[in-house]
């Protein structure tokens, strides 16, 4: 057969990584397959490669996915339903319907038009957003993949057409369109590599293997004849389990999770695979994991609802007061009011049918006073937010030149929430880091090499330079000690993953170093001890490496640059080109691989046992420093002290370190051990892994330390600065990562979330029987330590792994855990699943009752992004899922600072002011209607003309408030960034707390009283015009309305801090528009304008009293607010007030020292970020110097 012929040519790669060659066959024969059709967990039956079975009776959904909220049929009802879930809209709908009956105090058009406008616009917005979603779905559904058409022919077909049971061929770097069972791959032994970035965020390649019986399925005949049945579990969301079996040729074979290829993961390092589709579309695991994106509402908006309820209460109470007044009137008085002809009454004014009349009246006044509820509030807010979003989108400071992407507000209804964030939960890979390793430093034989500084150091230096801190002497010592001269930044040639720079090692000069033999050993270990596969790049004639983890790649690139080029791997050997041999020629060395002791998280090391070209047996080991140090031989500790010191320095600067060691093994010892090892490998049963670990332990001892490497997990640009800035704005930052603990801790150091001197609390699950209790104990004791700590500068860091987290998140423990976590300066959760990320987010959100922000880039962050109050997606290189699920997307983590500190701060203040003002103006307007009622014996008559009322909200007062909502800024963006403490005004909610809201309401009530009673007092009964004319209802209404327009516009004028021409145009324009309207309206036919015919030019305009009243009221109404804010500024100014003053008097230019001093003071004392770190360092050094 074909594959037997090829077996010698092809390597069984899987053997290198795993022990699959000796792994017991996981085959279940007929007796073992006890699961039958009746078993509910095996309820799914897939007939492979039999298209005739696509339809009945196994009618599974096809592979089409849809993430839209609506479809054509359901759009209108659903969207309308969404709109009328807002209680205010229901109210206006009822009012609009009632306006068609005689009950209404207004004409129907004046009720229906604004509502239709408002609802229509909102629905249009929904439609647009959903359309964008469906376009995205369409793109995915129309991706192409090769599907078996029968007769062994594969044709391209759309993803959406794939059916359960189809045979699929996926090619290298392609995504799997559905959950599939792997049948065979381009590798002979049926393995393939997948990247599950989109599922769990891990970029490590994972090995999947096919069932042994299907490994050989390849080629025309095989596909034509392939028939099998899969019985398996129902669709579920669990990514890491799968139960099922494959019936092939009347034999049952158990299917394990490692046989399954999941949708949205990517095929890597494998030319092609064949698979049979098991779960399609929404049945697939990844889709089962995705939850419907929740509609989020900001805190401010939720509070606004409460205010609306308050206003409704006010509305109902004044309506009831009116109705009581009305009832008394018609009961006792109206009979005597002959001019109303009370003998011919309708039901509306019938004393003998009091109840009905009062009910009708109640409805009438409920509609009449409806102006208390600002109908245009929602639409104005939506409009303002869309405009705010546009401004965020077009902010050039958040534009990434590399990817050409700018920030994007995907939902605009959370803008102000950005200004109230308390906790940031961040993903690591792709968010904080680029997932790219850079070989930066190393320590060989106790000598530290590598002069490049890590980004953290550079950020810290930069920071120190920018601050004129008086400790330059201390700092100078510190920098020159640690960093060398920062000016030496040679940038001659840049190689990816290699930023190492040190003359002593480069270009073969290492041979002149004193310990050149150790250095050679160091490079040998790096070149040999790994699991990578070299690939020759034809163009550059150099090797690139396919690696499991990115740091191995960095090592191999580094050794290549140092002259040890790993060039070939065979089943048994590794070949390395040695460029700098004493002979002067490049020679090729072969290392025979005897054993490979693989890495796992428990061992924290990997070793390889090789026989070199002189026949010596060597064990090369690399691993975590603590692990290696424990296993050193007594004579192997020569460099231990220096290395430890250097490792600490590396670790402190955020580098990821590994220690390297070797030992020579005697032949006899090796053979004795190897027998034991082989035995352990062939053991069957659960003990196998333990046994292997144990045996490995036996040989990995008596090591000789060679040195240590330090690679930089490359951070995204500007991450340390951004974290520092966010920490100074007193935001808490949690890192949630799927990565292992070591990596996470390293990144913690790199981002300055962790530093030396910070007390780390590690909570992880031990392998003991009562894990839960143990974790509970760990949490309790950690809490106790924190409680007992008295030094206010002491900082704690909590590091918890996924398994422990699973227990910590259980209901009875989660609040204890949260309490501990909140008390820690930084929290890092590692090895967490996407679901746990979401759970942690929920815990923080619900436990602290504060606003949480989740930021991530991969599909594994989707849950968290959706769960958090604000989800931010990084529109990085790969994957759109996070972005699709997010509320905002930014190109890089560093833009978060500007997004929160500038835009969040602005938007929060804008929206708060806007809402307060809205309520204020509608209270002013609405209550005047109520007072007037008292003078009409509560009959339900309005003092204003219908058209005034329509225009009030829609035209006359809307634009200034929109300009406030879009353009207002208390301080400029530079100042926001320079004074991060200003951000705290948001999380502390200083601008939308109840005192402020109630204050605004009181202001509204006061203004309405002033307006009404001044107007009534002045226009009482005497003549108002020089020709002796007395006022009538329309004149009083017009004067009152004019006063209101002036009052509310002057009010907003006082509220605005930032006047550009736009604000001026809108504020003064609104007032002018009113007069223009009055003029135009008065000149319409009297049939339309009614009483207001020629009102301005003939009636009120020529009367001086009209203008004097307006002036008086506009001023008097605003005196209370003006006094209050002047008083506040004078005695109890807020931060932005002082900054405004400083800016106003240009003191920041006159007294630069003060300005700098305040800027640095304005940083919240935070325990994380490199500022904290630098300060900590300085403190330590100063202490040292003092001693």
């Amino acid at each position: 057969m074909r594959h037997t012929k090829n077996i010698r040519n092809k390597l069984k790669w899987s053997l290198i990584y795993s022990f699959s060659c000796v792994r017991p066959r996981s085959e279940i024969n007929k007796e073992g397959g006890t699961h039958g059709h009746g078993d509910p967990s095996y309820s799914r039956i897939v007939h492979c490669n039999q298209p005739s079975h696509h339809k009945k009776p196994f009618c599974y959904p096809n592979n089409k996915i849809s993430t839209t909220k609506y479809n054509l049929m359901t759009f209108l009802p659903k969207a309308l339903f969404e709109q009328f879930r807002r209680v205010a809209n229901i109210y206006f709908l009822m009012a609009a319907l009632l306006s068609l009956t005689p009950i209404t105090p207004f004409s129907p058009i004046s009720m229906i038009a604004p509502l239709a406008f408002v609802v229509g616009l909102s629905i249009a917005k929904e439609a647009l957003e959903d359309w964008q979603r469906s376009v995205q779905d369409m793109k995915i559904n129309n991706r192409k993949v090769k599907v078996h058409k029968g007769q062994g022919i594969f044709c391209h077909n759309k993803w959406q057409n794939i059916q359960v049971g189809d045979l699929i061929q996926v090619e290298k770097d392609g995504f799997f369109p559905a959950d599939m069972l792997l049948l065979s791959s381009s590798y002979e032994d049926g393995i393939c590599y997948v990247e599950t970035m989109n599922l769990d965020g891990e970029t490590n390649l994972k090995v999947k293997r096919s069932l042994d019986v299907t490994t050989s399925i390849d080629g025309y005949q095989a596909f034509k004849d392939f028939k099998a049945t899969i019985k398996c579990e129902c669709p579920n969301s669990n990514l890491y389990t799968f139960v099922g079996n494959l019936e092939l040729n009347h034999q049952l074979h158990a299917i394990e999770p490692s046989h399954i290829l999941l949708r949205d993961s990517k095929l890597r390092n494998t030319d092609y695979v064949y698979g049979v589709v098991i779960f399609t579309g929404h049945d697939s695991k990844v889709m089962q994991n995705s939850t419907a994106s929740p509609s989020k509402r900001s805190r401010v908006e939720k509070k606004m609802d409460k205010i609306i309820y308050i206003l409704f209460t006010l509305l109902i109470s004044i309506s009831i007061i009116s109705s009581i007044g009305f009832a008394t009137t018609i009961q006792y008085k109206v009979d005597d009011w002959w001019y109303l002809d009370p003998t011919h009454t309708t039901d509306f004014y019938n004393p003998s049918r009091l109840f009905i009349s009062v009910t009708f009246h109640l409805i009438t006044v409920l509609i009449l006073y409806g102006y208390l509820i600002p109908i245009s509030l929602y639409i104005s807010i939506e409009l303002v937010k869309v405009l705010q979003a546009k401004i965020i989108n077009s902010d050039i400071c958040m534009y990434d030149e590399l990817t050409g992407k700018s920030a994007k507000a995907r939902t605009s209804n959370l803008n102000e929430e950005l200004g109230q964030v308390d906790t940031i939960l961040s993903d690591k890979t792709g968010t904080l880091t680029c997932n790219q390793m850079d070989f930066l430093k190393c320590s060989i034989a106790g000598v530290s090499y590598g002069i490049h500084s890590s980004e953290v150091e550079m950020a810290a230096v930069k920071h120190m330079e920018s601050e004129s801190i008086d400790v330059n002497d201390v700092w100078g010592k510190f920098t020159s000690d640690q960093l060398g001269d920062p000016d030496i930044k040679v940038q001659k040639k840049m190689i990816k993953e290699f930023s190492f720079e040190d003359e002593r090692l480069m270009g073969g000069k290492w041979m002149n170093e004193p310990n050149s033999d150790v250095i050679r050993l160091f490079f040998q270990i790096l070149a040999v001890c790994h699991t990578a596969i070299p690939e020759l790049n034809e163009e550059t004639n150099s090797f690139t490496y396919e690696v499991e983890s990115p740091d191995e790649g960095a090592f191999l690139v580094a050794t290549r640059e140092f002259g040890f080029e790993f060039c070939k791997r065979t089943q048994t050997s590794i070949f390395v080109h040695e460029k700098y041999h004493p002979s002067g020629n490049t020679i090729q060395r072969e290392y025979k691989i005897l054993n490979l002791l693989e890495f796992n998280s428990k061992r924290k090391r990997m070793s390889v046992i090789v026989k070199d070209d002189v026949g010596q047996i060597l064990l090369f080991c690399k691993g975590a420093d603590s692990i290696i140090f424990d296993r050193l031989a007594d004579n192997g500790k020569k460099y231990l002290e220096e290395t430890t010191k250097q490792l600490n320095e590396f670790g402190e600067t955020g580098l990821r370190t590994l220690a390297l060691a070797y030992r020579t093994i005697e032949d006899s010892e090796y053979h004795a051990w190897n027998t034991e090892f082989t035995q352990a490998k062939t053991t069957i049963g659960p003990d196998r892994d333990n046994l292997l670990d144990h045996v490995s332990e036996l040989i990995e001892r008596e090591l000789h330390l060679v040195g240590a490497t330090a690679v930089e997990d490359k951070l995204q640009e500007g991450v340390p600065q951004c974290i520092d800035a966010l920490a100074q704005a007193a935001l808490k930052i949690w890192v949630l990562t799927g990565d292992k603990m070591e990596t996470a801790i390293n990144i913690g150091f790199a981002c300055s979330l962790l530093r030396q001197g910070m007390r780390q609390i590690n909570i992880s699950a031990q392998n003991i029987c009562d894990v839960k209790n143990d974790i509970s104990l760990q949490i309790t004791s950690a809490s106790n330590i924190i409680d007992r700590e008295i030094d206010p500068r002491a900082a704690f860091a909590l590091i918890i792994d996924g398994k422990a987290l699973a227990y910590a998140l259980e209901d009875d423990m989660k609040f204890k855990f949260l309490k501990l976590a909140v008390n820690c300066a930084s929290v890092i959760c590692c090895r967490v699943s996407p679901k746990q990320k979401a759970l942690v987010t929920r815990l923080v959100k619900e436990g602290t009752k504060k606003t949480t922000l989740a930021i991530g880039d991969g599909a594994n962050d989707v849950g968290m992004i959706q769960e958090a109050d604000i989800g931010i997606g990084i529109s990085g290189v790969e994957g759109m899922q996070a972005v699709m699920a997010s509320d905002f997307s930014i190109a890089q983590f560093r833009f978060l600072e500007r997004l929160l500190v500038v835009h969040g701060h602005w938007c929060y203040k804008r929206i708060s002011k806007l809402i307060c003002y809205f309520f204020y103006k509608n209270i002013v307007f609405g209550l005047t209607l109520f007072y007037f009622e008292a003078f009409t014996s509560f009959s339900g008559q309005s003092v204003y003309e219908d058209w005034y009322m329509i225009l009030f909200n829609v035209i006359l007062t809307s634009l200034p408030v929109i300009s406030l909502g879009v353009f207002e800024q208390d301080v400029s963006s530079d100042v926001c960034l320079q004074f991060p403490a200003l951000y705290q005004q948001g999380p502390k909610n200083l601008f939308f707390d109840w005192t402020r809201i109630l204050g605004w309401m009181a202001n509204g009530i006061l203004s309405s009283l002033i307006i009404f009673f001044l107007i009534i007092g002045i226009f009482y009964d005497q003549a108002f015009a020089s020709n002796g004319q007395t006022s009538d209802k329309c004149i009083i209404g017009t004067a009152m309305f004019t006063s209101i327009i002036w009052t509310v516009n002057i009010q907003i004028f006082l509220m605005i801090n930032h006047f550009t021409w736009i604000q001026h145009v809108f504020v003064w324009g609104s007032i002018i528009t009113w007069y223009l309207f009055l003029l135009a309206f008065g000149n319409l036919s009297p049939i339309i304008s009614g009483h207001a015919y020629k009102i301005l030019e003939e009636v009120v305009g020529p009367a001086p009293i009209f203008w004097f009243v307006t002036l008086l009221i506009a001023i008097v109404c605003n005196i209370p607010y003006f006094v209050r804010s002047s008083f506040e500024r004078m005695l109890n100014p807020m931060d932005h007030h002082i900054i405004q003053e400083i800016k106003h008097f240009k003191n920041h230019l006159k007294d630069k020292q003060m300005w700098t001093r305040e800027k640095s003071k304005a940083r919240q004392k935070s325990k994380i970020g490199f500022t904290a770190r630098v300060e900590d360092k300085i403190r330590l050094l100063t202490n040292k110097l003092n001693k």
């Binding site: 004014y349 950020a459 009409t936 014996s937 008559q941 353009f967 020709n1027 008086l1112 001093r1157």
Partner: protein
């Protein structure tokens, strides 16, 4: 690729990069053709437009209050003076014109057609009154602003007469004896019908009853060719009966009445005396006390008033409001000045920053 890497390595920090990218954009936008426009757009999107910022410094606050006070107080005094210069005489006559025998049953009196409703009042002029002297009738406790009342009219009918037949809003005064009423509605139906005539030195004093309505009413709202029809023909007689030979556009007392008042207490102009009245002069008024206010206990008053260019009628309230506000402002200015002196805070004072305060506390 190399470019990118250099980028990554370069140490230029966040800010400087942003600035450079801004410069970059600026350079782009400064291409000669559209430089100015793009600059504006750039500033707009970056929210960097030139802005004046109002900073409420103590100096500004104090001077603003002072300024308002200085403006308002004089206006107030002028207005008060103007109001005091108006001579206004108010005479309540609904009780005085009631014969003693009907005092116990006023409604019977007013509804009894056979009883004469005439009565005479003597008014002593307290001060010299310069023509024109406006004559008003004032009704109290009369809800012309009642919703049922306000709605019960039809502007189209007033303008187009019987051509316009959709008059349901006029209920219940829409039809009478099966014919439509012009003008329809409660307002017209309940029109005021007391009459006044003045006698001075034994000779009648001419009352000009023209031009008491707004010109726009005469010209555009009340039809020139529309004559009262079928008016006050029903079983219930409301107020005044209109002369069916005079078109609506000349029925000025109807127009005045049809302008519904805003408050239950209101004055409406009746006519004007175009002769000066001297101080201490006595003028006799013959009143036709026809209008029924007794049912609902409303008062009726006759008001004579001169007018004033600034205020119209007598109106102390405006002047007093201005004076009060003005003095309050001055008071506030003083208050803030004292506060400022006592609590002086230098312009560049930084001690009030929240971070500074927090530090001093802790």
């Amino acid at each position: 690729m190399e470019m990118i890497h250099v980028e990554e390595i370069s140490t230029s920090a966040l800010r400087s990069r942003q600035i450079s990218s801004i410069h970059h954009l600026r350079q782009i936008s400064f291409t000669p053709k559209r430089s100015k426009k793009s600059e504006v757009i750039y500033k707009f999107t970056q929210q960097n437009l030139h802005a004046c910022k109002l900073s409420l410094t103590p100096q500004l606050v104090i001077s603003l209050f002072l300024l308002m006070g200085i403006i308002f107080v004089p206006i107030g005094f002028v207005a008060l003076h103007a109001s005091r210069s108006v001579v206004e005489i108010v005479n309540r006559y609904d009780t005085e014109c009631m014969p003693d025998e009907f005092k116990s049953n006023k409604v019977a009196y007013i509804q009894d057609i056979s009883v004469s409703k005439n009565c005479t009042l003597a008014i002593k002029i307290p001060k010299f009154m310069k023509a024109p002297i406006h004559i008003y009738y004032q009704l109290d406790n009369y809800y012309q602003n009642h919703r049922r009342y306000v709605k019960s009219r039809n502007d189209k009918q007033l303008q187009y007469g019987l051509h316009y037949i959709q008059t349901s809003s006029c209920m219940p005064e829409e039809y009478s004896n099966g014919y439509p009423i012009v003008p329809c509605g409660l307002v017209a139906w309940s029109m005021f019908n007391d009459t006044y005539s003045f006698v001075r030195h034994g000779a009648p004093l001419f009352i000009n009853r023209k031009n008491i309505s707004w010109k726009s009413d005469r010209d555009h709202k009340f039809g020139e060719k529309i004559f009262p029809f079928n008016f006050q023909n029903g079983t219930l007689i409301g107020g005044k009966t209109l002369d069916p030979t005079i078109p609506l556009s000349e029925q000025e007392d109807l127009m005045v009445w049809m302008r519904a008042s805003a408050l239950p207490s209101f004055r409406k102009i009746y006519g004007r005396i175009e002769d000066d009245l001297d101080a201490d002069e006595v003028v006799f008024v013959n009143i036709g006390n026809n209008y029924n206010t007794y049912t609902f206990g409303g008062k009726k008053k006759l008001v004579l008033s001169t007018s004033n260019m600034l205020l119209g009628g007598k109106n102390d309230f405006l002047g007093l409001s201005y004076i009060t506000t003005g003095f309050s402002c001055i008071f506030l200015a003083v208050f803030f000045a004292l506060l400022h002196v006592k609590n002086q805070r230098p312009d560049h004072d930084t001690s009030h920053f929240s971070w500074t305060r927090k530090n001093t506390i802790s």
